[in-house]
Point group: C2
Chain length 64, copies 2
DNA sequence: TATTAATGCAATATATATATTGCATAATGT
DNA sequence: ACATTATGCAATATATATATTGCATTAATA
């Protein structure tokens, strides 16, 4: 399933997928695919995304 | 770095690495290596571990 | 309308998470 | 002392996360 919380947090910081990706040091596709729910990021990548967006794991990646 | 919070939560439920691994459907080594901080689990695996131990991502995998 | 930015998609390549097996050792119980 | 359980470690194999490139499309903007 899509990760809309991630997308919302990114948009709230006014970052494009590419800007977020550059900030973290991954490719734009990686961010795009995570938002689309098409794969399964590593914990370290999740943590990097959280730090970049000033959120916690539960904020962005906890489901239900 | 070691994941002592994971180990503590597992021990608190009186589960061996092997029992936890079986419950989740991964190998014992995978659990052992995560506890030792020797690799970087996927988000889905983290979520499975959390559900098995009745914890959240922040409880077990958030650092500092 | 033309241009640019943002995003999705697809193919191939590479790095690495995870499985599997087997062995060593420490801890625990008999 | 012996047996058993839990854990760590190492090697090889496989699956998959991630990179890279390029193209298509949508949305925004001049």
């Amino acid at each position: 399933m899509k990760n809309l919380k991630l997308k919302a947090a990114r948009v709230e910081k006014n970052l494009s997928q590419q800007e977020l990706a550059e900030q973290i040091g991954v490719s734009r596709q990686t961010i795009g695919l995570i938002e689309l729910g098409k794969y399964n990021p590593s914990l370290q990548l999740c943590l990097s995304i959280c730090r970049a967006l000033s959120k916690t794991l539960d904020d962005l990646f906890w489901e239900e």
